[in-house]
Symmetry: C2
Subunit: 308 residues, 2 copies
């Protein structure tokens, strides 16, 4: 899957990922109304609304982008119907040739971590049959529990040729509360980054490892250091756009080959139709607004990379 | 909910929680067969098997125990049908008067953490209606992202009078990889424990805070220190039994009032029928074996507390 991700990035020339993180109030009113008319103001209705919202965005952007990153929390909040919409979204994006990064931030130990891995990037045994429950290509994983939490994911990912991104330095303002604390003179996130490089060496694709890291766009200096600590790991970079990151902040997340990073934007793309710059499209053309926002994002990042 | 947890512990005299973490191979063969006969060897069949397995254990133990802790990973691995079994289990346990701790170990930032909180301990708005998607009483939360990840949970928990247990020092062998690293001469888990006390002060019940901590039974010395760092926080203690912890290791997790800790056992209870000590019950009476194992666990912990 890391090879497919690299191939998709080369094909599109766009090291970006669209975060499919729909809040219900992101969905244009006429789409909500239609879903509620069919299913009522129910969890099923909400799930239908976000699924229709996603589908249109995917239809209008899939040829420009290598990957999507659905945030499972946004679906889980609508219970079982929400998770059905998550699965539908994953399946649909895969049909469209996109790499799907399940932003699930799971992390537990031993057989419990293995169960998450099996559920999201593996297959589960039921009697004599096997099933692929959610079937993402990559997942995000929380490292707080150490190797016991990560190794079961590595094992399943090796079997399935799938991958993961481990939280190293997150994009939020308070990420430093624990992640920046100095240990033997170096911040915790650097130690986690070193472990990512170590774990990553166990599961290599052609050029890059199947095991990458999450480092927020809002911390470009840390990104520069972590790029060197984990040269073979892809960095998934959230925090572009709505959270404040810009193309020029991101150049050091990339290697000299122009690879090694994939920049996520969620609200900035999927809610483009609500922004002044794209308001002309109108809520009925939210997918076209998203396409225009994707094009602008690609241009910003490409130009920044060319100018470095 | 912390008041209900304390009341349930006082009523039963049992500061324990049964971990409903069913692997399919924990389920007696005749129960699996029956489920597969009805639903086939499908995810639905697996979900039915673990639900029937859980139900019998709950029926045979609910009068002895204050709380259960279903581990969502074990359900999530069976996809949507598995998560339906999770919800059924949560609802059934609440009907039986048990406090339900959803062991979900979620953690993200801002609106994403809020979405998890809403989905598991809150209510979600759909048009003019409100729904409670999973409706646990407590959840476990990963602190790696700092206050931005925890505060949205606190807000929802305050509104709903629900609570959470934050991972501080986990029970697994490699938990020290990051959690034990020294920061200004003190291990990371102590700093996290201090934050738990700080967060906990924002959301107090009558005697204890709604915000507790997870500290593994396998680390009794650390438990002793953390008990003092977070005097008003309940400690959820995994690692009893199958992971090696015993009653005598646990006394320092408790306060002088005999409260302040709740000890989890999963495999040791739900798989009791597979252990030599309870093999006499036979697989057809797995619930009775679990009841006997609960009684032995309560006795072990009570005696250890009396002897301290």
């Amino acid at each position: 899957m890391i090879n497919k991700l690299v191939a998709n990035i080369k094909k599109t020339g766009a090291p970006i990922v669209v975060g499919l993180d729909p809040m219900l109030n992101y969905v244009p009113e006429h789409v909500q109304k239609k879903a509620f008319a069919e299913y009522g103001e129910t969890l099923e209705g909400a799930a239908e609304a976000i699924w229709q919202f996603n589908k249109e965005i995917v239809d209008k952007t899939y040829d420009l982008i290598p990957a999507v990153k659905p945030q499972i929390a946004m679906y889980e909040q609508f219970g079982i119907p929400g998770l059905q919409a998550f699965k539908k979204t994953v399946d649909y994006c895969k049909e469209k040739g996109l790499v799907v990064i399940g932003d699930i931030k799971r992390g537990d130990i031993g057989s419990t971590s293995a169960a998450y891995a099996v559920g999201h990037v593996g297959r589960v045994q039921v009697g004599s049959k096997e099933y692929v429950p959610f079937d993402e290509d990559f997942v995000t994983v929380n490292p707080y529990l150490g190797s016991d939490g990560v190794n079961p994911f590595i094992k399943v990912c090796q079997e399935e040729k799938k991958g993961m991104f481990i939280l190293v330095k997150t994009s939020n303002p308070s990420s430093g509360e624990f992640q920046d604390r100095l240990i033997d003179g170096r911040p915790l996130y650097e130690l986690v980054g070193e472990k990512v490089a170590e774990w990553g060496a166990q599961h290599m694709g052609d050029e890059y490892s199947y095991i990458g890291a999450v480092v927020g766009a809002t911390y470009p200096e840390q990104g520069k250091i972590l790029r060197k600590v984990m040269p073979k790991s892809f960095i998934l970079v959230p925090g572009y756009g709505a959270q404040g990151g810009q193309g020029k902040d991101l150049v050091h997340f990339f290697n000299e080959d122009g690879l090694g990073a994939i920049v996520n934007s969620s609200r900035g793309i999927i809610c483009a139709y609500k922004q002044e710059a794209y308001a002309g499209f109108g809520p009925e053309n939210w997918g076209d607004a998203s396409r225009a926002a994707v094009e602008a994002m690609i241009k910003d990042i490409r130009e920044s990379l060319e100018q470095r």
